[in-house]
């Protein structure tokens, strides 16, 4: 059947959400909708990527994202190879590009890359011939997380436009915050970044976000609260006074939660520091979308892997 051009996906890589148009993001979410159905079948597998090879190249620790990509690839009937930095030639001093070229030489179709350096996926996409999917590059972007957050919000509210979304905590070190910001604003949501001045650069205002340092000032007006993980491994001590003070000012405590809209939707990209940025009763409560996010992540990643393998683009 002939379809109008806006009903087609033409990108070979998924590197950032900043680069995508609103129509492309919506196309991705709609595709994810169809893939969600696959996971409800008794045979949870389709032959779409039969004979294709997906390599998970993770240069940073990850449980959720890596497992999710592995499962997504296997539900599409692709073969999956896990590559990790530890015990590889990377520890012998091989450069990222050499490692990637060697992996590619084995006949890989999609390289899923998680790397501590911002721009790593972009760099590889320019170097290798296979498709590259960014699974997190430094503090730059984590596009599939941004997409699954967006998908989960759209599923919950039936829309994204007009919603007020607070992204709270360690904004400076968060690639999720950046991917959230790009995708939410493109679809018409209002984004409010909340955090201490040391962890919330003013530069976010020029990217279209409202920045506030007082969580309580906006707590009653938001529809969605995305609590970011405090990334102790990335934070310099000067940025962060004390855990107790952070929780008191920026944690989603039961007291603070009681002043939210009754149907506020609480999200967290995981892994959670329970009792620090979010209290356990809220994380496990009826307003929490945290496990839904994980389930939707699978459908979103199936959609991404399927779409980037389009031939002859």
């Amino acid at each position: 059947m002939d379809q109008p051009p806006e009903n087609r996906w033409t990108r070979r890589h998924l590197l950032s959400l900043e680069a995508l148009s609103k129509a492309e993001i919506e196309f991705l979410l709609d595709t994810a909708d169809s893939f969600k159905e696959v996971s409800t079948r008794s045979i949870k597998k389709v032959p779409a990527l039969r004979g294709r090879v997906v390599v998970n190249a993770f240069f940073e620790d990850s449980t959720r994202t890596r497992t999710s990509f592995t499962l997504a690839a296997s539900r599409l009937s692709a073969d999956v190879i896990d590559f990790s930095e530890k015990g590889s030639s990377v520890s012998k001093g091989e450069t990222l590009i050499d490692t990637a070229r060697n992996i590619e030489a084995m006949g890989v179709d999609i390289l899923v890359l998680r790397h501590p350096a911002a721009g790593a996926a972009e760099l590889l996409a320019r170097t290798v011939k296979c498709s590259v999917v960014n699974a997190g590059d430094g503090a730059h972007e984590h596009p599939t997380q941004g997409l699954l957050d967006l998908y989960t919000i759209r599923e919950r509210f039936g829309r994204v436009a007009g919603l007020k979304v607070a992204i709270v905590g360690d904004i400076a070190n968060s690639r999720v915050a950046r991917s959230n910001l790009w995708s939410l604003t493109k679809l018409g949501a209002e984004v409010i970044m909340v955090g201490p001045p040391t962890l919330l650069p003013r530069s976010f205002e020029s990217l279209g976000a409202r920045c506030v340092h007082d969580f309580d000032s906006i707590i009653g007006e938001v529809d969605v609260i995305n609590m970011l993980r405090v990334q102790f491994e990335r934070i310099k001590s000067s940025q962060f006074p004390s855990v107790r003070e952070f929780t008191r000012l920026f944690g989603l405590t039961s007291e603070r939660f009681s002043r939210c809209k009754p149907d506020v939707f609480v999200m967290h990209p995981g892994p959670m520091n329970r009792g620090i940025e979010i209290s356990s009763t809220i994380a496990d409560g009826p307003n929490s979308g945290i496990l839904t996010q994980v389930a939707n992540g699978l459908a979103v990643r199936m959609a991404v892997l399927y779409l980037v393998t389009a031939a002859s683009v």
């Binding site: 087609r8 033409t10 893939f35 696959v38 008794s42 045979i43 779409a48 004979g51 389009a310």
Partner: protein
């Protein structure tokens, strides 16, 4: 070669198809009718309504998107939108009528059969098509055909237009491209 079939022709063709199907199945037993997206879905809906009007009491309905099962998936360029498959029927052991608008190479039907087998094991699968234009590349034949077009050249396509999607009922034989 005739190249245009209008609304009256389409109505007559669907009526013929309904007659043939009604004669082949029992109205008492469950009959599942599954349409292949996009126009097969619409045809399946129309056939189900007509059969219900003729006393078919138990009709199960489903929709199949075969994109993920196509054998040319690695060759087609930009990705078209995959739409959800909706199969919530009691499939095992019951007859199933697969519906599509045009039967050409048979590859879509091959894909649909593979997709169906992921959902269950029908007692028998039968194929109904509005138009059979020949040109098979696989050993697949329809059980019920509305209109047989024998002389359509390979470089032509048969376009079925349906009111629900296209605003009018029409069958057109046109050069490709």
């Amino acid at each position: 070669m005739r190249t245009v079939y209008d609304e009256t022709d389409v109505r007559r063709t669907i009526a013929t198809l309904t007659d043939r199907i009604a004669a082949a199945f029992s109205g008492e037993a469950l009959l599942n009718i599954v349409g292949i997206r996009t126009r097969g879905e619409v045809l399946a809906r129309r056939l189900a309504e007509k059969l219900a009007g003729r006393g078919f009491a138990k009709i199960g309905r489903g929709v199949l998107d075969i994109t993920l099962y196509r054998d040319d998936l690695s060759e087609i360029g930009p990705r078209p939108l995959v739409r959800p498959t909706e199969i919530h029927i009691d499939m095992d052991g019951h007859p199933l009528l697969l519906v599509d608008d045009v039967l050409f190479t048979g590859r879509s039907i091959r894909a649909a059969l593979n997709a169906l087998s992921d959902f269950g094991r029908p007692g028998a699968v039968r194929l109904a098509v509005l138009v059979d234009r020949g040109g098979r590349e696989l050993p697949i034949a329809p059980d019920f055909t509305g209109l047989m077009l024998k002389d359509v050249p390979k470089d032509h396509r048969v376009n079925v237009k349906l009111k629900e999607i296209d605003g009018r009922d029409e069958i057109l034989v046109e050069p490709r491209g």
